[in-house]
């Protein structure tokens, strides 16, 4: 399968990229690693008139320590995160999640911002950053705004981003030294998209206890007060039922198992 025809530009700066996208209207799309957009182009599910290559923009590279938060450049690859590019306990957690994304050859090019913007409900970063209550820095030629990661996905491949907006960074709390995080997913083969995702994030210092039910077919379901789920398998099942899964169905059971496994993992984890 071959991609349809489109034009291509590689701007030298973020400002130039944002201006080009504003001028290109709905038919212009940003391209980063291309590991989600590439297949969509080849399958002709995406038919942009113009691709704006942002993969090598210095403004999207690397990460910054901002005190209580880590500011992750949207252009960071899954492989870089897997290899420990990000510091601290949250960096180690993100490395473990990154290791489970697709295959190394894909992780070498795929970017964290690109994966979020693509918004496959079964993708790992969509659920992970919703779980961690991350804040996305989103830019366009009109300015900058913040989108909560748990409000990004509106449906399959559909986000709160407007056509001219680009995710430029992801801010995630480092948490206290007592913070714990867990993530479990079910897929039939390593690297395939998950059939179910469960995760927990608890920090006694701030009183945060969140859970996520991911790979739902739509937006990830975030439970902001998940204390009751941590110690009760029944509460995990009830949360999955409340997320709209039909009791007894394969989907309900596999999501409940992943949520329970994540709860057990959190209880047994050390910071």
């Amino acid at each position: 399968m071959k991609a349809p025809a489109f034009d291509y530009v590689r701007p030298a700066s973020l400002d130039e990229a944002l201006t080009l996208c504003a001028q290109g209207g709905d038919d212009a799309k940003f391209l980063a690693g291309g590991q989600s957009l590439g297949p969509l182009l080849n399958l002709r599910l995406a038919r942009p008139a113009l691709l704006i290559d942002v993969r090598r923009l210095p403004e999207l590279a690397g990460w910054r320590d901002e005190g209580d938060t880590l500011c992750i450049g949207a252009g960071l690859t899954h492989a870089a995160i897997e290899d420990g590019a990000l510091p601290g306990a949250v960096g180690r957690f993100l490395a473990a999640v990154a290791h489970g994304i697709a295959y190394r050859a894909v992780r070498n090019r795929g970017t964290v911002g690109g994966s979020l913007a693509h918004a496959d409900p079964a993708a790992d970063w969509v659920s992970t950053f919703a779980l961690l209550d991350a804040q996305l820095e989103v830019r366009s030629a009109r300015g900058v705004r913040i989108v909560a990661a748990d409000a990004l996905v509106e449906g399959p491949l559909s986000t709160a981003l407007r056509a001219d907006e680009l995710i430029t960074a992801i801010r995630v709390a480092k948490g206290s030294s007592d913070a714990r995080r867990s993530y479990r997913k079910f897929n039939r083969k390593p690297g395939e998209f998950a059939e179910a995702i469960g995760g927990f994030c608890a920090d006694p210092a701030s009183g945060v206890c969140r859970a996520v039910i991911g790979a739902t077919g739509g937006p990830p379901v975030v439970i902001t007060d998940a204390n009751a789920l941590l110690d009760s398998d029944d509460a995990c099942v009830a949360a999955v039922d409340a997320a709209g899964f039909e009791p007894g169905s394969f989907e309900q059971q596999v999501h409940a198992v992943m949520l329970r496994r994540a709860a057990h993992a959190l209880r047994e984890s050390v910071a």
Partner: protein, 160 residues
């Protein structure tokens, strides 16, 4: 059409490509490097895996135009590579291929496993191979071949 300059197997190439042309098509159709194989053409099967700037990548979902300024190494570009030599011998010895369609991608992935994960055991090798489909061998020979190269290299480096 866009003019791009990239290094392919050590040679600098300047070519004109349509933006929609993926890297594998450029290599096969224009540069006549047909060792890179195309299977699924949407990033799943791994047959087209090669090296871009020193790291394995899928050439079917990488647009050639994005490789302007990059170093590309295909299966034809490892003639002088000691690890690839070991892997080719091991693939023969352990019957790690039958029809050979997946082999160029397998070799690039295998080399990455050997160099990046020198302590990889069989489960880890299998996990890392999940992105390269083989419909002939059932993977046993491939896994054994990679494990044997890791074992030889570790014994040569003084028994890690």
């Amino acid at each position: 059409m866009k003019s791009i300059t990239l290094e392919v197997n050590g040679r600098t190439e300047t070519v004109r490509v349509a933006p929609r042309t993926h890297l594998a098509d450029l290599l096969r159709e224009e540069l006549r490097l047909t060792g890179t194989h195309l299977g699924c053409e949407h990033g799943v099967c791994g047959a087209c895996t090669l090296e871009i700037d020193g790291a394995p990548a899928r050439s079917c979902i990488t647009l050639a135009v994005t490789c302007d300024g990059s170093r590309v190494r295909t299966v034809e570009g490892f003639e002088d590579d000691a690890v690839m030599h070991q892997l080719r011998e091991a693939f023969t010895e352990h019957h790690a291929l039958q029809c050979g369609y997946c082999t160029p991608g397998m070799l690039v992935t295998a080399r990455d496993i050997v160099l990046r994960l020198p302590d990889a055991d069989e489960p880890r090798i299998r996990e890392e191979l999940a992105g390269n489909l083989c419909r002939c061998t059932g993977y046993m020979g491939v896994v054994r071949a990679i494990a044997s190269v890791i074992a030889v290299r570790n014994s040569e480096s003084g028994g890690r």
